[in-house]
Each structure stands twice: as C-alpha cells, then as structure tokens.
Amino acid sequence: MALRDKQGRPLVAVTGMGVVTSLGQGKDDTWAALTAGRSGIHRINRFPTEGLRTTIAGTIDSVDVEPFCAPMLSERLAMLAAEEAIGQSGLKQEDFPGALFMAVPPVEMEWPQREALAEASGQTGDITYKDLLKAAATGRFKAWHDLFIFGTVADRVADRFGTRGSPISLSTACSSGATAIQLGVEAIRRGEAQAALCIGTDGSVNPESLIRFSLLSALSTQNDNPEGASKPFSKNRDGFVMGEGGAALVLENADSAKARGATILGYVLGCGEKGDGFHRTRSSPDGMPAITAIRQALEDAGVAPEDIDYINAHGTSTPENDKMEAMSCTAVFGERMANLPISSNKSMIGHTLTAAGAVEAVMSLLTLATGRIPPTINYQVPDPAIPLDVVPNVARDAKVNYVLSNSFGFGGQNTCLVFGAEPK
C-alpha cells in the first residue's frame, strides 16, 4: 500500500543524515557532545582579532582547505556531511537518484585575494579597482572566477555525488537550511523525484563577515568566557555567536525507501513559511509571520499543537529573536508552552547561519530516534519575561514523537519544519 499523508501526497522519509560542527565531525560526535552539554565556542585563532568587539566563534578548525576562504570551507563541510548522509542511506556515492537543494552562504572575493591582485598590479601608489582589473587581465587568477561565483559550491557537490538536474543554490538568510529541506520535500511530493539531497553549509567566519554582523550589533561581546557567551532565552543574553557547520539529509519517497529496504530514520511531515514586510532585520511586533509559519507547518504535517512534544528552537541568543520566538510559540501552543520543552542547539554550536536549519533538522531527528532532548546550556539567569522550559543545562530523556524546528532570518524569512518518528 502506498505511503501517503492525509492530503494524499507521498510521505517523505529521511534515510541518511550527516553533520559537521565545531563539536565534531560526524553526527555521532556532535550528538554526544551536544547531549553532554558541551560548547564548541572558542577564541578565534584563524585571523587576528585585535580591534574587534567580538573575538569568539564556533569555527571548524579541523578541516583544511586551500586556498582558505568561505566557499572552499563551505564546500568541504558540505562534502563531508553529504558523504556521511549518503553512506548511511545506502545509496550510491556517485549516482544520487534525485536533485540537489543546497543552502550556501552568499560568497564574494575575500581580502587575501584582493591583496594578491593589488600586489600583482604593481601599483605602488593609491590602489583602486582599476589596478585590480589590470591584474585580473593577466589571466593568472582565472581559477578565482570559478571560486567566487555563486553557483560553484553546489555545482561541485552535484558533480561529486551525481545528483540529477540543475542543482539549486539558495539563500533565505538564517532559515536557508530549512528552505533546502522544504524544496526537497516539495519535489518528492510533486513526484518529480524519488529522492532529494538537501544540504546547508556555512564556513564563513572571516574578518569581514564577523565585522558586518558586529556593526549591526548582532553578536555577543562576552568574549571572556567563550563557552558561556551563547545564552539563548537567558535574561543576560546579548547577541549570537557565529558558528560554522554543514549538514546533509537524504530525503526519499517513503514507498521507494521501503521498497529498497532502507532504514527510515524519521519523516519530514510538514513545512511552513511566511514572509514579513515589517523591517529588514526586525520581525513584526505582533509576531504574526512567525506564528503563521508555525501554524502552517503543523497544518501541513496534519498534526495539532498538542501533538508536538519538543521544539528545536531557532534560539539565537539575541534579545529580539528569543523574545519574539517565545511570544510566537506561546501564541500557537498557549498555556502548554510553560511545560513544552524548547531548547537551542545554538547555545553550544553557535549560530551556523546558512547551515543552521539543516544542522538543527539532524539534531531534531536524532531527538526522535534516541528520545533524548539536548539542553540549552548557559541558562543561569532566567528571563522572567519569557518563562519557558528551555531544558536548562542538562539533557533530558523524554518520549518524543513529533518535533517542531524553527528557523527565522533577516529579510522577513520564517521557515518551520515538523518531523515525526512515524507518520501521524
């Protein structure tokens, strides 16, 4: 009998997952650290931090790439995560039977490359873009065209794993990883593909990226104790901590997954999204867009608010996000919100930005599989304005059948996903 949801659409199963974070390579390492309440945040060693307001991040320093730059590191993290995910799914590593949907950080040339061009120009006086263009004309920098255009990371991943069709590189800011999964779910439901490879990756902790967020006052400046800086839902939270990460999920039509004897790790039951035209970086004061995204995700999944056992929060540790997220969840879940566990992985791995929605999807599915809820660490000073059960500081065992994962981003992006151990 065909596996369909209540709306008659093919059920979407997860058959493979892979992840890399500052806590470890592979989902086993990351999960062990995450459920032990360990932080991956540390002082930045990658570049000098003198003169910066924020000097900490959840960088991934165990992965070498050459030349070192955001697209190369993002590509490598994506490859590692996808190898693990496809390996677990039992599908072939070089002939993936579906499309690639990939959340990638917007890339651009970085300072070491600009400096190399400036030097190659021979200009010893004031340097302008005219000089850089003169150096570019030598043809010596041809490889950097490919390196710094937007489609390259996904194209290389598509080439490596033999995914079908035109790969989609996407950005919905800090909800990008969730959008990649949503696009995969939609493709399978439409019957275009039996499988989709959905990836979120971000290896963009470099001076300019960090400074851009710093200039918007978005980052925590509590540098003295790096492991304690990310404090989602705490009263003394003061901004997010940048993190790096990569996560990949193999989604499959549940019928074809079962037919080939694959192990089903869980289901993506529902997706919801809603735009917000209030402000470029702030959400509507009434919370309606986030509330609508959550309700749509529940409705799409065919579950009621009372079915949700755990919320994997967006929980960035910024004053604004955590307040709005608490308000939006309370609007949907009502009085139950005081006792409904909601925790933030970002308390330990930081905000992995483009990758966050995908990384947190993997953690949500591991919660379903293991019955263990990772904590929100650094929760020492509760915020009385947002009384939540944040699973403070220590992981908890619980029977979890359905998880809601929230992702919100600059530019009015709100994307929510519902995962289930079994279809409802």
């Binding site: 400074i211 035209g277 995204a293 009015g412 994307t415």
Partner: protein, 374 residues
C-alpha cells in the same frame, strides 16, 4: 496539472522601462545603448535614469538599498502594476516570491583605501580589522545580502506570502521560474512574483568576470559576431519580474494573460566541446519545442555561442532568433526572466505563436523555457 500563465511584466534595462519600450527596441533592431567610457576598456549596457519614487516611494527605503536591489524593487513594482495586483493587499499577502540574485556591491573607495594601507601596514591583520570596523557603513551589509532584494520587495510592495532566493548566476533565473511554475501547476500555490536584477556598473563584478577572461573589450558587436573575434560578454544593468499564476486564478481576478509557460527544462553538464549543442537538443526535445521565435540568452562567449547557433538551426530552422544580450546586455540572473518577458510580449502582440527562451550560462548550466499562446 494546472496551466501557468504570465499576467504581469516589469522590465527595466538600458533599452528603457516597461515591456512596450523593449518590444519597440527589439523591432527597431538598432545598436543598443552602451557606455564604453566609465569602465574602460569594458563596455557595459547602462540602465537609464529612473524616477525611483514612482515604485519606491520612501526615501528611507531607497537609502537602504544598493543599485541591484533598487532595480529589482522597481521592476517588481512595475510587474505588480501590470498584473493589477499592486493595490490588492490581501492578494499580495499570499503571493509567493522567488528571486534570482547574486549579491554584493561594495564600498569601492573604502576597499581602495584599505588595500593601499594594507600594503604598508606593520600589522596588516590589525589594520584590516580597524578599518573595516571604522569605515564600513553598518547598513551596507543589508544592501549586499542576496536575500535582501526579496526582503526589500516584501517591505516596499507588501508581497509577503514567503520568499526564497536562488543563487547561481544564469541558472538561478531559469530555476526560479521553473520552481514557481511547478508549484502553481501542482496546486500548491496560486500566484508568484518571480524575477531577478543585475547591476553591471560595478567594478567588483567586472573583476570576477575579467579574472575568468569572459569580458568583451571592444566596441559593441552582436553576440553572434563576437566568437570570431575571440568572444566575450558585455554585462548589462537591468531587472525583470514576472507575475505567474494559474489560468483559473487569473480568470477569477479578471486579468488577461499574456502567454502561457508550457514547460521549463534545465540541467547541468560537465562542459566540453559539443556539450552545449547536445544539451539544447535534449532540452528542446523534452519541451517538445516548435518555436517560431527564439529569445536566446547567448553570451557571446566563444565555443558555446557557436554551439547554440548550430543547435537552434536544427531545432527552429525557420524561427526568428533574437539575442536578449544584443538588446539589454548580459544581465546574468535576470537574463532568463528578461527573455521570458520579451517572448510573452511577442506572443501577446500576435507576432509569435510559440517561443523558446534559451539560457546557456557563461560557465555552466543550460536551460530552456517554452511559451505558448495564453
């Protein structure tokens, strides 16, 4: 599956503003507007002066955007006007948005000053930190972020169904339209605003393409003539947005469709001699294309441009072939939407019954879009 029709077009480029201006320029077939001086030796197709206030009424909003975002926001407003959707707040609050975007835009003066200083600095890392912290405008970041064109369209025009931003140069323009069409055809959504924007008048984008050796550095010549002389592309500033909806949805609003999007196919291949020609044959076969007009996204780059020409001779031997880049320049992410807009205009005006829009990326990605009478 539901039919998907185009009910609104917003278009700005060096050829002017609006669909009519572009169709007139296409019919006149004269030399397009180029600026050979500003970025010498690189010609660009500059966008004409626009009265921003007409589509972006608040000066505060205009100040928050860099040129590519303003162009996109302006064209999005034109498309909403053309589709009779601008004043319908309820409709716009459930309208979905897919934007094909690059990003960036830099403070060129600051970059130059930092590079000059870095060469002499005792401690370059510290110098870089201090100057980025002190000299970057905080809001420049929001004018650089790829998804903030969509964000600005939501803010300025109230299109707030939900937005997704696709990246990846030319392919992102084709795939944005493809995914929107599939979501409408399958019944998931009723109405979309889809498109892209590009600012060519930027040294940083010229730099990327010059590193790769892709730019034409001589006076304007048609894309078809350039390969014999080494080949190359001329970037163009412009933006194009389309309102797509199901035929039933358009009818229920009493809006007349311009054309129907009968099919979209896109793929990637490892490029080698002959792969573009083979891809175009395969795409047109998938689409069952029998066009009497072709809007080609040809770039003028050697090899792939001749291959496209050869493929089109087989696929559409009797069709009129227009290169979009010979009208507006190469607008990268906006190129496929612009081709679709022109094709829809020709079909709506009775000058064609079926059109094929091609998109052969300068470096990767092949796509084709088939349009038919509404």
């Amino acid at each position: 599956m539901r039919d998907v029709v185009i009910t609104g077009i917003g278009l700005v480029s060096s050829a002017g503003e609006g669909l009519e201006a572009h169709l007139t320029a296409l019919a006149e077939d004269g030399a397009p507007k180029t600026d050979a001086a500003s970025f010498e030796p690189f010609p660009v197709h500059p966008v004409g002066a626009l009265e921003w206030d007409r589509q972006i009424p608040k000066k505060a909003d205009q100040r928050q955007m860099e040129a590519w975002q303003k162009l996109g926001c302006y064209a999005a407003g034109l498309a909403l006007d053309a589709a009779a959707a601008k004043e319908d707040a309820a409709l716009k609050s459930r309208m979905q948005l897919i934007v094909a975007a690059g990003g960036g835009e830099r403070d060129y003066a600051v970059d130059g000053q930092i590079l000059t200083g870095l060469a002499k600095a005792d401690n370059p890392g510290v110098f870089l930190n201090e100057h980025l912290m002190g000299d970057l405008r905080p809001t420049l970041f929001l004018a650089q972020l790829s998804n903030l064109l969509a964000g600005n369209i939501s803010i300025v025009h109230g299109v707030t169904g939900a937005s997704r931003t696709f990246m990846g140069e030319e392919s992102s323009g084709v795939d944005a339209i493809r995914i929107a069409r599939e979501r409408i055809a399958s019944g998931q959504d009723d109405i979309f605003l889809v498109g892209g924007a590009y600012n060519a008048e930027r040294p940083d984008v010229l730099l990327i393409y010059e590193m790769g050796g892709f730019l034409w550095k001589k006076p304007f010549a048609s894309v078809w003539e350039r390969p014999a002389d080494g080949g190359g592309m001329i970037l163009g500033s412009g933006a194009c947005f389309l309102v797509l909806e199901s035929r039933e949805h358009a009818a229920s609003r009493g809006v007349k469709p311009l054309a129907s999007i009968a099919g979209i196919a896109s793929d990637r291949s490892r490029r080698r001699a002959g792969s573009v020609e083979a891809a175009l044959h395969s795409l047109s076969k998938q689409l069952n294309a029998r066009p009497d007009v072709v809007l080609s996204g040809a770039t003028g780059i050697r090899g792939i441009t001749e291959e496209e020409r050869a493929a089109l001779k087989d696929i559409a031997p009797n069709a009129a072939v227009h290169a979009t880049a010979d009208l507006v320049g190469h607008t990268v992410e906006a190129q496929a939407p612009t081709g679709v807009a022109l094709a829809a205009g020709l079909i709506a005006g009775g000058q064609a019954g079926e059109a094929l829009v091609t998109s052969i990326g300068h470096w990767r990605g092949e796509g084709a879009i088939r349009l038919t009478k509404a």
